[in-house]
Symmetry: C2
Subunit: 216 residues, 2 copies
């Protein structure tokens, strides 16, 4: 047989080709042939590694979620060594906002998959329950942590606020993507809500939630 090939790796390559081309032209407009061309392989190969298109899409979704998870934790890590819960929550929420090409693609495709999951209910359900739940748990955990450090306003329900923030982030994300709102406004809204949950700082430096840039 020809060079023994790592199936997992090849599948990942093809799945990422799917993500790229779908990000460009829309998931609904992507065919097996497009994925093959983008990955630089023949149509037959795509068939070989994923027997059916449905399996390709499903694997693509998983890969997308994976990449996004990596992205978010990278952003959170980049926020500093121990930047405090607020900065971490902020980093997490901002990473989810479609502000650059990667996150735009992510948000766009995730929404496409979400639409598919609305009738295939059973089929694509798993990744759609598990991943957002993980995000919710993460934010809830961070808020609880902040709560124990007395950084939050009293009487805050951590899980409820986590749900709210993530829902807001998702909603704002879609608004951004269809061009209804601009990035700064979305960030301002999120920051404002963080301001309401977190106790006001003594200093003034870090949040810049309502400080308009000068020249406007």
């Amino acid at each position: 047989m020809p060079k023994r090939v790592d199936h997992a790796e090849r599948r990942t390559e093809i799945a990422e080709a799917l993500v790229r081309v779908a990000g460009r032209r829309g998931l609904h407009a992507v065919g097996m042939r497009d994925v093959a061309a983008e990955a630089g392989v023949s149509l037959r190969l795509v068939q070989y590694y994923f027997e059916t298109k449905e399996k390709l899409l499903l694997f693509g979704l998983e890969r997308l979620a994976e990449r996004f998870t990596e992205r978010v934790s990278a952003r959170v890590r980049a926020a500093g060594d121990d930047p405090g819960p607020r900065a971490m929550v902020e980093a997490l929420l901002m990473a989810a906002l479609p502000t650059d090409e990667e996150s735009r693609t992510f948000h766009h495709l995730y929404t496409s998959y979400a639409v598919m999951a609305m009738h295939d209910q059973a089929l694509a359900a798993q990744p759609f329950i598990k991943n957002p739940e993980a995000a919710e748990d993460a934010v809830t955990g961070l808020l609880r942590q902040a709560q124990e450090a007395a950084l939050l306003e009293p009487g805050v329900d951590a899980r409820l606020e986590a749900i709210s923030l993530l829902a807001m982030s998702a909603g704002l994300g879609t608004s951004l993507l269809v061009g209804q709102r601009d990035q700064e406004s979305a960030v301002a809204v999120l920051d404002h809500h963080l301001d309401r949950i977190f106790r006001a700082r003594d200093g003034s430096a870090a949040t810049r939630a309502d400080g308009e840039p000068g020249t406007g």
Copy 2:
């Protein structure tokens, strides 16, 4: 010629057939033939009244938005004669949540259209800017009204809260639709946020935001 026909009316009929069948099987899976069958007319007729599929989809979106607007104002009206701004805002937000068949279809299709609007940018842009902006203005107006009646907590930014509430409602709506969250939890989240914006009541009757039903 055969019975002179009201084009506008016929177009509406067909567009609503589109909405029905798309709500059942997903917008991406709907073809001209499906719409024709659902409307009880021939394929040719669909072609006749909408020359191209793109125009059919566009008109369908407009019709969908129209119907939704009617639905929301009906719900708001049904909230009572002058139920106060909070009840009106609540009615508006709840009407937007996918809780019954009609609103589920609406939310599902609107999301589908949103995905399409993400690359056709120029094409489907108008309805996607105008309608949410109208909703935002409406909520903002209601909040301002409440503010003048001293019903809000001090220091509330009406527009910013309107944006937040609508974004949350949209995000929660999607979560509901993919089965990630249940209806009561979504309502609770929205109500909680209204509680934070509006001043606490003297009495106890009206809001029922955190009152769990007994037997659950």
